[in-house]
């Protein structure tokens, strides 16, 4: 690495555990509370988000370093990033549809939703804010995606069991999911000593 900055391992562990996108940064909460009721769905959604996050990070880092910074128009990054992500989602959707129809059928309905998923835009903005290099951005996106998927799976497993639990009437559904998220978040705070 020519540029100084946090090491790749630090970024990775930070994104997966310490600064978990869902529990510490509150990004991507809609799929977290909406989709995560079955483990298979959670896995598909997580995989789709990770894929888009990775490609979007590569594309936005290239644009940021070679177009926005040289022309001194960094303030345009919000508009550029959202357009890049929206078109990337379309391209990825078309590509998967043509090459792997089984994957398309399992990811299909989640792909369009990812455009407005703040986790993807969040990671690209964090990359720009921290001024990560290409390699650092890739690791950060990968870590973010894995941490996101992990959380979706944990949450869906808990919610599958919760269906049979005797929760108070007014706590049923979303409120109890929030309380579970709070407990998970509390548990994840224990990782903060890692980096």
């Amino acid at each position: 690495m020519s540029e100084a900055g946090p090491s790749l391992i630090t970024i990775f562990i930070g994104m997966v555990l310490v600064n978990n996108l869902i529990l510490a940064k509150f990004l991507g909460l809609c799929p977290f509370f909406g989709v995560s009721k079955k483990i298979t769905n959670a896995l598909s959604m997580g995989a789709a988000v990770t894929l888009v996050m990775l490609i979007a990070s590569i594309a936005t880092t290239l644009i940021y370093r070679f177009i926005l910074v040289p022309f001194k128009v960094e303030f345009m990054n919000i508009i550029i990033y959202i357009l890049v992500i929206a078109s990337l989602v379309q391209i990825v959707e078309l590509f998967i549809k043509r090459t792997n129809i089984t994957l398309y059928n399992s990811l299909g309905i989640y792909l369009p939703l990812i455009t407005t998923n703040c986790a993807v835009l969040g990671v690209t903005l964090i990359n720009a804010q921290e001024n990560y290099t290409m390699l650092q951005s890739i690791v950060s996106a990968l870590g973010g995606g894995i941490g996101f998927t992990l959380m979706l799976i944990i949450m869906s497993a808990i919610r599958e069991r919760l269906e049979f639990a005797d929760t108070p009437k007014s706590m049923r559904g979303l409120p109890i999911a929030f309380i579970i998220a709070a407990i998970l978040s509390l548990a994840y705070m224990g990782f903060s000593g890692l980096i």
Partner: protein
């Protein structure tokens, strides 16, 4: 005749305004826009700053999208909405950076993330692209104030329990003697956000303001 029609729109204006605040409160009823609600509700200052930002973007995008509603082709409406919203968010972020640097710093990446706030895109798609400019303004204010009220309620409990007092724009409103010395700082950290919002949702359901699922 004309007068009657005008009064009718005025009545509708207030109806739309009230609807957004209470009946379809974006946070407590529709459970939209959770990321900013949870992330910036750790202090009243942040909550107010974020609300002002959301109202500005919502108002701007609703007006522009409503004006463009007849010439926007149906097929590309979502990209058009996104570009309009992103433009207003860029304006907002530049203004905050120039005039309110401390607020800009503490809102961090959640300021640009207003772009993907489902509330704004949702209002563009559901309301502004189908209704007149006046009604869209009412809708923007209604939904914006609904969001503000929700954010203030959450931030009130978090700051009160997490720091033992309330502070708005650098002015200490009051502090609770024992709590201020040993505050429950968990409430200004991430878990506190989930706890407070979860309990608030449950409370609103219990007293019957919200429907059960």
């Amino acid at each position: 005749m004309i007068e009657k029609q005008e009064r009718l729109t005025a009545k509708k204006f207030w109806q739309e305004l009230a609807k957004g605040i209470v009946i379809t409160n974006p946070v407590f009823v529709l459970v939209l826009g959770l990321c900013p609600t949870l992330a910036v509700s750790n202090s009243l200052n942040n909550a107010l700053g974020m609300s002002a930002g959301v109202i500005f973007v919502l108002l701007g995008s609703n007006i522009i999208i409503s004006l463009l509603r007849k010439i926007t082709p149906n097929l590309v409406r979502i990209p058009v909405f996104i570009v309009v919203i992103a433009t207003f968010v860029t304006i907002l972020s530049l203004v905050f950076e120039a005039y309110l640097p401390p607020l800009y710093e503490s809102l961090g990446i959640y300021l640009p993330l207003i772009v993907v706030n489902c509330i704004i895109l949702g209002r563009a798609e559901v309301f502004a692209s189908k209704n007149s400019v006046t009604l869209s303004i009412a809708d923007a204010f209604g939904v914006g104030f609904g969001f503000t009220i929700a954010l203030i309620i959450v931030a009130f409990f978090r700051e009160l329990l997490g720091t033992g007092g309330l502070e708005v724009f650098g002015k200490q409103l009051f502090s609770i003697p024992v709590l201020a010395e040993s505050p429950m700082s968990i409430f200004i950290m991430p878990p506190g956000a989930f706890i407070v919002l979860g309990l608030l949702l449950a409370f609103f359901r219990m007293i019957g303001v919200l429907k059960h699922e």
